[in-house]
Symmetry: C2
């Protein structure tokens, strides 16, 4: 099992720690594209990044935590501003979600975590942390509207886009995003 609970986790505020993290995530993104998620092990990552396995474990206690960090760090696709119109804010949020899922390493990491979640509690926890993080982010953007999105609405809003991008291997069109938001805000 990829887990070394005796190691102290590293403080993210240290610039050297942050640089190592960014370098390893960049290598992990390359490996996901080249070889797929199966071969993204801490051994291979250590070889390719030149960072020891022990240091990798101090950054990420598990492989699932690394994949989740890769998803949340995401590609640089721009991010919506808070706003006063719920429809506009949610459309922008879902457009940014789509851009993230259009990034092949991010999509591969989400599917890999989801596939492992049935058999691996670390992956199930990582999945939950990603979803909670994203729903909180949307509700933060919506704060000034007074409108907040519950778990079912979040599934209703993100589901069609995630389904189209990840499970149906297609592209969520602007029209699908707009129709989804209109359906749920009605």
């Amino acid at each position: 099992v990829d887990s070394s609970p005796e190691l102290e986790p590293l403080a993210r505020t240290n610039p050297r720690v942050e640089r190592t993290r960014a370098n390893v995530l960049a290598v992990a993104r390359e490996l996901l594209l080249e070889r797929g998620p199966i071969d993204l092990t801490f051994s291979v990552l250590s070889q390719r990044s030149g960072v020891t396995r022990q240091t990798l474990y101090r950054h990420w206690a598990t492989r699932a935590a690394l994949l989740a960090d890769l998803v949340l760090a995401g590609p640089d696709v721009g991010y919506p501003e808070p706003g006063s119109n719920p429809r506009a804010v949610i459309v922008e949020f879902l457009t940014s979600l789509r851009a993230g899922m259009n990034d092949p390493p991010t999509a591969a990491a989400v599917l890999a975590i989801a596939a492992q979640a049935a058999r691996d509690p670390d992956s199930a926890a990582a999945l939950k942390s990603i979803i909670d993080d994203r729903r909180n982010a949307l509700n933060h953007l919506l704060a000034q509207t007074g409108y907040q999105v519950g778990e079912d609405e979040f599934a209703g809003l993100c589901g069609p886009i995630m389904y189209r991008q990840l499970l149906a291997h297609g592209t969520a069109t602007d029209e699908l995003i707009q129709r989804t938001v209109d359906a749920w805000l009605a």
Copy 2:
């Protein structure tokens, strides 16, 4: 590559062929639960089922085709009847979809095909065949209502359920199903 195009595909109408297919799919379901999708290779399947690899290839030209067949054969979860009320028909369809996705080997197979689709055209084609099959099935159930579901509506209806069951590793509640149908039929 798991592909032997020179072999004739087998006729599904032959009872012996059908029996072999059912046996192999049952073994594949066990393997998906025990070991996960990575180890579901034609070699391991051949060893475990006692069916030669050549015969396996005559049933399924590719591993993706086998996984898609496993998804479409599905668990025995009941299936809706056609009806005259679109809302009732779609709620029953999504309830049956949820029951299918609650079946761990089916869920694992869908995620495995989706994860491979980005890198493997056979998996992308298998995914498309599953989705087209399911949308046609829903539209068949809806035939007498005069209402038909397009690609975006299908994503809007199935997306939240597939997202919750497969990507968020949870259970789509009856309420989520009903709210999704109400949102899209409004």
